[in-house]
C-alpha cells in the first residue's frame, strides 16, 4: 500500500475543469499551497471551490480568482480579498456563503455517510431560505445537507505512505474534515516519514481517508495579521 506521489503535478492527475474541489485551511493558515499552485499551472476553469476562505488578492485561492478559474465559491468568510468582492458584487462569481460551523459539519457529514442533519445555525436568516425547518425541544433548526468533492486538497505537517496525517497547531482547522469528504483526497505534507514514525495513538487523519500523498516544497506560509508584543 503506497499512496506516495512525486509532486503536486503527479498527485493532481485527473483533476478537470468544472470539478468540485475542497481546499483545507483557515485564512492562509494550513492551505495546500502546492496544490493551489498546480491548479493555477493547469489552467483549469469553471471550478467550484469549497473552502472556508478565499485567500487574499495575491495568495491562496485569490490566485485562482485572479485568473478567473473559479466559477463558484462555497465559503463562510471571504473578506480580506478585494478582487473576490468585486467579482461577487458584479455577479461574475457565484457565491454560496455558509455558517462556518455548518460548513465544517457538512464536510464531516459528507465523509461520514450522513446525508443530512439539523442545526440551529442560520435559522431565521437568508441562509435558511428554502430549507426545511423543524423544531426540537422548542428550538428551531434547519436541515443542512452533506458536502462532497471530486478532489479534496489538504495540507498536513507530517504524513506516511499509508496516508496517516498529523497537523501543526491551528493549521489543522478544516483539513481533517475535508480529508474525509473527497472522492480522491490529496494530502501535501511538509515531511513524509516512514510508517511507524507517527504515534498510532495520535494520528489526526487516519490514512483510510487519503488516496494520494506527496511531500510539498517551498512553503511560503504567509501571515495575514502579524501581531506581536515586545519583550
Amino acid at each position: 500500500m503506497n499512496k506516495v506521489y512525486k509532486n503536486a503535478k503527479e498527485a493532481l492527475a485527473g483533476v478537470e475543469s468544472g470539478m468540485t474541489l475542497m481546499l483545507g485551511g483557515f485564512g492562509l493558515c494550513g492551505i495546500p499551497e502546492n496544490c493551489i499552485a498546480e491548479l493555477m499551472e493547469l489552467g483549469l476553469t469553471d471550478l467550484t471551490c469549497i473552502s472556508n476562505n478565499a485567500g487574499v488578492d495575491d495568495f491562496g485561492l485569490g490566485l485562482l480568482l485572479q485568473k478567473r478559474q473559479i466559477k463558484k465559491m462555497i465559503s463562510s468568510y471571504v473578506g480580506e480579498n478585494d478582487e473576490f468582492e468585486r467579482q461577487m458584487l458584479s455577479g461574475e462569481l457565484e457565491v454560496d456563503l455558509i455558517p462556518q460551523g455548518s460548513l465544517a459539519e457538512r464536510c464531516r457529514a459528507g465523509g461520514a455517510g450522513i446525508p443530512a442533519f439539523f442545526t440551529p445555525a442560520g435559522y431565521g436568516t437568508e441562509v435558511a431560505e428554502g430549507k426545511e425547518v423543524r423544531f426540537f425541544n422548542g428550538k428551531a433548526h434547519i436541515l443542512e445537507h452533506a458536502l462532497e468533492a471530486d478532489f479534496a486538497f489538504v495540507k498536513a505537517w507530517k504524513g506516511d505512505r499509508y496516508g496517516n496525517l498529523i497537523y501543526k497547531g491551528t493549521a489543522r482547522n478544516f483539513n481533517p474534515v475535508m480529508a474525509t469528504a473527497g472522492k480522491i483526497t490529496v494530502a501535501e505534507v511538509e515531511e513524509l516519514v516512514e510508517p511507524g514514525e507517527l504515534d498510532p495513538y495520535f494520528i489526526h487523519t487516519p490514512g483510510v481517508f487519503v488516496q494520494r500523498i506527496f511531500q510539498g516544497s517551498n512553503y511560503e506560509k504567509r501571515i495575514e495579521q502579524r501581531t506581536v508584543r515586545t519583550k
Binding site: 483557515f26 471571504v78 457565491v95 456563503l97 455558517p99 465544517a104 489543522r172
Partner: protein
Amino acid sequence: MLNKNQIAQRIAQELKDGWYVNLGIGIPTLVANYVPEGIEVEFQSENGILGMGAFPFDGEEDADMINAGKQTVTLNPGAAIFDSSVSFAMIRGKHIQLTVLGAMEVSENGDIANWKIPGKMVKGMGGAMDLVASADNIIVAMMHTNKRGESKLLKTCSLPITGVKCVNKIVTNLAVLDIENGAFRLLERAPGVSVEEIQNATEGKLIIEGDIPEMKLNME
C-alpha cells in the same frame, strides 16, 4: 462616554471563574486584556483553540498558530488544538459559557445583524451564525450609533440578520442594556452620559426604571 478599551473592560466584569469564552473580532478581542484578578477563564478561538494566550514575542510568531482574526497568537499551558468540526461542536453544543461579538445593528427583540450590507459589503458570516444560534449568553460590544450618528439599537434590523432573538446584553460607548421582553432595558450609564442622551441615541423601545447608576470602571 467609553472608548473601545473601556467597553471591553466593562464587558470583562461579566466574566466568571471557570468560563469558556469566545471573543469576536474587534472590540471583543480586547476583553482578554481585562480579565479580573482572581478568576480564570479560557478563551476559545473557533479556528480550533482552547486556551488561547497572548500575542507572541516579536520574532516568535508562527504562521501555523493564529486565532480566528488571523492574528498570530500563543497557547497557554493546558491549551488544546482541534479541528473546525470539533470547534463548532463546542459552540453548537453549548459548551461555551459566553460569546462576545460586534454588531452593525441590534433590534429590541434581540435580533442581530453583522454580516452583510446588500450590494455593498459581503464578507460572510464566518462563525457568527453558529455562535448566535447556539449560545445562551451573548453580549454585543459596539458603538451606540453609526458613523452617521444613527442609532444601532433599533425597533427592527434593516440589514440581513445573523440570528433571531439571541442577544442578551449590549455594552456600548454610552450604556449597558439587557434585552428583555422585546425591549432594551437600560442598566447602567457610561460616566458622564445622561439617560436622555442614551434615550436619544436609541431608536428601539427603551425601558428606564428607577435610578440608572453610572457604571463603575476600575481605571488605573
